[in-house]
Amino acid sequence: MLTKVSPLRPPVDDPGPPYVSLPVQDIGDVRRICDFSRALRRTRQGKDAALNYPIWDVPLTGGGLLIAAVAVVHVFISHFAIGGGLFLVLTERMGLRARDAGVLGFARHHTNFLTLVILVFGAVTGVGIWWTIALVNPTAVSALIHLFAWVWAIEWVFFLVEIVAALVYRYGWDRMDPRTHQAVGWVYFGSAWLSLLMINGILTFMLTSGKWPETQSLTDAWLNPGMLPSLVMRSAVCVALAGVYALITSSQLTDLVLKERMVRYSAKWVIAGATAIPFAGLWFAGTLPDQARFLASGGTPMVTAFTVASLLLSGLLVAGTLFGPMLFPRQTHVTFACVLAALALGATGATEWVREAVRKPYVIYEYMYSNSLRPADLADISSLGLLASSRWHVPAKADWDDPIKIGRSVFRVQCSSCHTVSGLNSIKFATRGWDKALLDQQIQYLNTLKGAMPPFIGTDEERGGLVAYLISLQAEGAGPSAALPARSEGDRLCLR
């Protein structure tokens, strides 16, 4: 009879949207009805922003790998787009001053390469990175878009100027007077760097939100503590990558005298940029929250390994440039230049991975966890229940007595942004051999036992459901983990 007095449906005279109707019709538990009722009232008041969107289920890899793939390619190209602009105008100026047709010819050829790479892959992957993030974590992107809307809009103007200037600069070779052509080149470089200036503030905000949580000021958000050191570091990366890409074109020159000159010239750009990066990097590291620094320097083995990989690959790139193109410019083959580019790509990928990973457990520091839940909503969701607060994952009434189905929904809402079931960062593998008590303890103290993870948010019943679901995964036996024995009390103590 409880359904007849259920307060879950909106009254007939309800003005209507915006509201969410929860698909619950027959609940045999008064407490749950109260929870739903309160959740419904809250959602109708439009107060909560957590659990807003459906969650895209990407089997095996999870959405994170997609973001990483697009982001690394884009960062590798976009920094070249900026440094490459500076490289071109300075190289052109060098050729003009020396009245050297060979140098100018090289710069012209390199312009074709730059425009092809940045316009085809740079611009499209730039859109693609936001495309991907919005699919994997729409709540976080929504927050960044709404907070930084004017910063994005300003960046778009610079981006537009950058693209038009790149096209005109390329078109203008042999057609424009050199003075105008140089001016166009400077406009290209200037707008590209200003575009970085705008975006950089948003990127660092996600890690060092500064005074924004207190002031809620956009200026404080953009001018956050990490903004300036990161800008210097990224500018140095732009210079280094300009040299890396230029090695690919200069190593193909057939005039050996010109090749020697341009290969060595390009190598100097790599060395100059790479020399500045560690200093700016240390400055940037000094602005990081303690937790982030801890994660990168031994706190989490995987993050530490990527930090080491980043340093190692960068070191190899510098050594390879010094002992290759710098010392033997005439012998430098395009294959070797591509190997150096691959090292640079690896270093870029590892560094970006570390930058993303040290943000854990947040996606926007101190504002939103990596699973899109906000610390500010923690208390409310814990009392109301995760699924009762959810707009998309309220289990059907028939599933309310099935803890495994509840647990599956809890996993999807709270864990699937980082973990897959049995693919990359598999939860099945991570919890292999754990018994019920150990699982429950780990989940209960998630953020204290595993610093890179957000706290578990939900009711005791939901935590129990999650435990039951994870145990059921082990029982499925689809993998070697099922054969492992349950871990002992001693293991539990070690895990602490």
Binding site: P17, P18, Y19, V20, S21, P23, A49, Y53, P54, I55, D57, V58, P59, V70, G95, R99, L116, L119, V120, F121, A123, V124, T125, V127, W131, T132, A134, L135, P138, S142, I145, H146, L147, A149, W150, W152, A153, I154, W156, V157, F158, F159, L160, V164, A165, A166, L167, V168, Y171, G172, D174, R175, M176, P178, T180, V184, V187, T219, R391, W392
Partner: protein, 362 residues
């Protein structure tokens, strides 16, 4: 199944919804014009790309091959701003529909990369490619039309909040499309058919640009472009009637008299289009301006359809505003300077005819 609507973002809007809508409409109109030149130009390239050497069509194809990579770059760049304002104003609907059709939405990125690369290669390496150049143009055209189809799917799915929860309940793998929507084919066709019409005008303008250099070819370009413009505009009007009738009746009625404002916007768009057709032969630049304004009216009508369809659930005007006037002013200043820079750059490109050989000869 109940309708599930994400709540508004607690950070609110950065300015009044009306200002953001105006910026959205303006930038989307520019984006749409660029799309039409790119897609229509690509279709014209398919028609004239195989003409024998010395034929005016072959020369047009060669010039279009040079133009398309640039117009594709401009199209993508101009698309960023309306996408930004769409997210600010209607993120609740846009993010949801995007997630529901995540894979096809994501595949736009590699499809665009390949289409764009094809255009570049067809331009940079015509002799190396030979006949394969035309195959590449076909590939780019097919991919571009597919991208447009995926966009049409998302832009219509985001208008159907009632479908979201059932789609998500059926599958969370992001494999949905909105193919069951009766509005979709009419809307897609109407959008795509604008391309040959606007590209025809662009062809006429190319003729004007080369009038003093190559009078015969200029006359051919003007004549051919005018033909594409007239045929495209005719088809566009037929598809427009279909689109109007395919709208949900309560919304279609708004454009047929129930709302003076909406009917006026649509009528003005049609009148501007007809006026452009009437003056095109004698005053191509005026026809271009009229066409641009007509497209702007149609963009406004499209926006009204979106508002009507989302109105019961999502209302941008109801989102709290946390305005930051200093940053809004900074954007305005940047925009003015940016437009000035673009105008200067384009003038530089249009003026340069000489060679720089003199600079290196001494």
């Amino acid at each position: 199944m109940p309708t599930v609507i994400p709540p508004v973002d607690p950070l609110g809007l950065p300015a009044a919804a009306s200002l953001l809508k105006a910026l959205s409409l303006l930038t989307f109109t520019l984006h749409l014009l660029a799309i039409n030149v790119t897609v229509g130009g690509l279709l014209m390239l398919l028609v004239y790309g195989r003409r024998p050497q010395g034929d005016s069509g072959a020369l047009f194809a060669s010039r279009m091959r040079a133009l398309l990579p640039a117009s594709m770059a401009i199209t993508i760049t101009l698309g960023v701003a309306p996408l930004l304002f769409l997210q600010v104003l209607y993120g609740q609907a846009f993010y949801t529909s995007s997630v529901l059709m995540a894979w096809s939405w994501l595949l736009i990125i590699p499809a665009l990369c390949v289409a764009y690369l094809g255009l570049y290669l067809a331009y940079l390496r015509p002799s190396w490619l030979g006949d394969r150049g035309q195959a590449l143009a076909w590939l780019s055209a097919v991919l571009t039309l597919l991208v447009a189809a995926v966009f049409a799917n998302n832009m219509t799915l985001m208008l159907e909040p009632g479908l979201w929860a059932p789609i998500y309940a059926a599958s969370a793998y992001g494999t949905a499309l909105n193919l069951g929507d009766p509005m979709l084919p009419a809307r897609y066709l109407h959008t795509v058919l604008a391309a040959p019409a606007v590209a025809g005008l662009a062809c006429c303008l190319m003729g004007l640009r080369f009038r003093s250099l190559d009078a015969d070819w200029a006359a051919w370009a003007h004549r051919t472009g005018m033909h594409w413009f007239h045929v495209g505009a005719g088809l566009l009007m037929v598809s427009g009637v279909w689109y109007l009738l395919a709208l949900p009746p309560r919304i279609g009625r708004q454009f047929m008299g129930a709302s003076a404002h909406d009917t006026g916007v649509l009528a003005l768009g049609i009148v501007l289009g007809l006026a452009a057709l009437a003056v095109a032969k004698r005053a191509t630049w005026l026809a271009t301006v009229l066409t641009g304004l007509g497209v702007g009216c149609m963009v406004m009508a499209r926006h009204r359809v979106r508002e009507y369809m989302l109105a019961p659930h999502v209302n941008a005007a109801g989102i709290p505003v946390h305005a930051d006037n200093g940053w809004a002013a900074a954007f305005a200043v940047t925009l003015v300077l940016g437009v000035a820079a673009v105008v200067w750059l384009v003038r530089c490109a249009l003026r340069c005819r000489g060679s720089r050989e003199g600079a290196t000869s001494g």
